[in-house]
């Protein structure tokens, strides 16, 4: 007797909100292209159930100071380019990412403590060198973030940058700058669905429209808390599909930063032989962290190694092929 299987479809009431990064000349910016993320009406890559209108996208992360503390395996992949942020941005763009993520590390008190005007000029230079939409991260010290990111937001008004990080303890100044200058705010919470929702609400309450907020629920690297961020991403996606408007923002995951901090990616000596080949290990660590986050609902993955970019792009191709 043939058995007939009825495809089990979940009926969802909501979907992930669409957010467009970057603005072309016609839209008030200077980008040669824009990137729209989000819009999914189902769980990641389940095309049989609902529309997945936009691919998850890849950002390549660069910074405005030569990252001497990065893993040797990662530095080797970029060579001397990392010494000049504009050259680095161009080289990164050649790898075909969707976005460039620029860390303004030079403003950090430990890394040069550059002032807001100088750093804002760096952002302008990068915008002049590449046509892709830009994500801009402050140095991660509240006082400097507020100083630097406000100036950056002003001199790049209309570019529709994604700017972060906005956290519960420090978001007002950055959000106000995004609001006044047509940018997108990145809301960061510490692997916690409730805090994520809370910070989203606080940002929205300041008047920033919901299609100008991205969620960064914090990424745990493979072996270093991956399961927590995996489940938080799944819960956020389920919550947005169930119709909770305050968790429907697309998600951004700083995969490269976390994966390359793992001991496996950094340390070449005095580790078990079973860990395998050092030169390749970090790339795989970053790649597996990324694929797992994508599978749980990441809309943007921020990567560091060129080879990981290629592997992840191919993975996204496979999962989006109809």
């Amino acid at each position: 007797m043939p058995v007939t299987v009825e495809t089990p479809i979940e009926k969802w009431n909501g979907k992930v909100r669409e957010v467009t990064l970057g603005a072309t000349q016609a839209e008030g910016g200077t980008r040669t292209s824009t990137v729209t993320v989000g819009g999914s009406a189902t769980l990641p890559f389940l095309h049989f159930e609902g529309s997945v209108p936009h691919r998850p996208v890849i950002a390549i992360q660069i910074q405005d100071v030569d990252p001497q503390d990065w893993s040797p395996a990662l530095r080797a992949a970029w060579g001397d380019t990392t010494k000049d942020v504009v050259a680095w941005a161009k080289k990164a763009a050649e790898l075909g990412p969707d976005l460039i993520a620029l860390n303004l590390r030079s403003a950090h008190p430990d890394a040069g403590n550059r002032g807001a005007d100088e750093v804002a000029q760096t952002v302008k230079s990068v915008l002049g060198a590449v046509g892709l939409p830009l994500i801009v991260y402050g140095p991660g010290v509240a006082e400097k973030d507020n100083d630097v990111l406000v100036r950056v937001a002003e001199v790049t008004a209309g570019e529709r940058l994604a700017i972060g990080l906005c956290e519960q303890g420090n978001y007002r100044t950055i959000v106000a700058a995004c609001l006044a200058n047509g940018h997108i705010a990145i809301a960061r919470a510490p692997i916690d669905v409730n805090i994520q929702k809370q910070i989203n609400i606080l940002i929205n309450d300041m008047g920033l429209p919901l299609d100008r907020i991205l969620m960064d629920p914090t990424t745990g690297a493979l072996g270093y808390g991956l399961e927590y961020s995996y489940s938080v991403l799944e819960r956020l996606r389920l919550s947005s599909l169930q119709g909770d408007g305050m968790t429907q923002m697309p998600t951004i995951c700083t995969v490269g930063e976390e994966a390359w901090r793992a001991k496996e990616s950094k340390v070449s000596e005095g580790v078990p032989e079973a860990w395998g080949n050092y030169a390749e290990r970090g790339v795989i660590w970053e790649t597996i962290t990324a694929t797992t986050q994508l599978q749980a609902g990441a809309d943007i993955v921020v990567l560091r190694h060129p080879k990981a970019v290629g592997l992840i792009r191919k993975t996204i191709d496979l999962m989006m092929a109809q």
Binding site: P2, T4, V5, H47, G223, G276, W285, T287, T292
Partner: protein, 451 residues
Amino acid sequence: MALSGLEIYKLLPKTNCKECGQPTCLAFAMKLASKAAELSACPYVSDESKAALESAGAPPIRLVVIGAGNKKIEIGNETVCFRHEKTFFHQPGIVVRVKDTQSPEAIAALVQKVSDYSVERVGIQITLDGIAVENASGNAQTFAKAVELVKSKTSLPLVLLSQDAATMEAGLGAAGDSKPLIYAATSENWEDMAALAKKFNAPLAVHSNQGLSGLATLADQISKAGVVDLVLDPETPSANNSLALMTQVRRLALKKNFRPLGFPMITFPSRFASSPEEETIVAAQNIAKYSGVIVLDNFDPTLVYPLLTLRQNVYTDPQKPIQVKPDIYTFGDPGPNSPLLITTNFSLTYFTVAGEIEASGISTWLLIADSEGMSVLTAWAAGKFDAEKIAKAVKTSNIVDKIGHRKLVLPGFVAGMSGEVEEELPGWKIAVGPREAVDISAYLKGIWTPN
């Protein structure tokens, strides 16, 4: 899957006759759902309802065991689609494929490497789970010899791959009573394969590339022929459709209690890969989304270690996070004047702190207190990381023999109890470190002194 009270209610007579001792049928259904009553208390329940309620008691995804030795692969018996809903119970077996066309030396060497592969992670030894032997030669004798060779080299469970029943029988003969997974029954050979599964008392994989209806039809026929330990292979040409089908199988089993597909699944990541790295990526997706047995074509520690780490992550019970052993941990080469930090034994706390200390490049002692696996604030709130516990951790360790100073750095979040810790540890200076691990590096480099 256990039925809810309302689902049970639908199967009851709904007459509210009270003969079961409950005021209404709904109340009785609620008692049944919480296992506080027996169905036999209802004199009027129909045979049909009885059968439905009884079959609802069986696990929706059958537990299947591969292998008969000390090391077995136990898969299935899952209860949720998302790990945060409860937990995933039976982690997928990761096995490596050899082919009977390879030289005996090559097979023996690979089997040895796979069997020996073992590495500790968060205090747990992680290993590979089995060997798949494929009949690529087309010759039954060659296959039997290869199986015999593999079996002589390892006690790991086996998966035997051949679509020809006579060849499979030769392989099973060589495998003895080790209960390998037979791969696979198809619409052409299923009667013969089912007979072999019965004869050798071994689990049977069911392969179909005709969608889930084709697979369910085949699995149903085989179940009715008396083979109940099945593993499903819903083959499809695309990676995303594979995810779709596996998601559907899981949902049908758990949400619809759909028996024909209520079995664990097997995957072959190389179907969608053109390089070893891509195989690893697909395998990673299979780990998170519902595979029970993953057959790899490549064995390379660099690629296997991240997969085993991922499997450990995904299959960690969200309610019982992995703990690290309370102990003194060293970073770099700490001496008498190196800083001493203390934190809790929640694995994520430990690894976050450890990562930051490592990143600082400062040689450091890290004392891990037994907080029963809770993070700093949770443990503090629950009284598992208070002054007394901290003092106990210091006293029961032999840290005083290792350091010249008497200064202990507390996590910034529990700064409030530094006075109490000072009282518990006379002669010690209690310093307050940063609240967030990310600031540890700056603290160690800029602020910490032994005095």
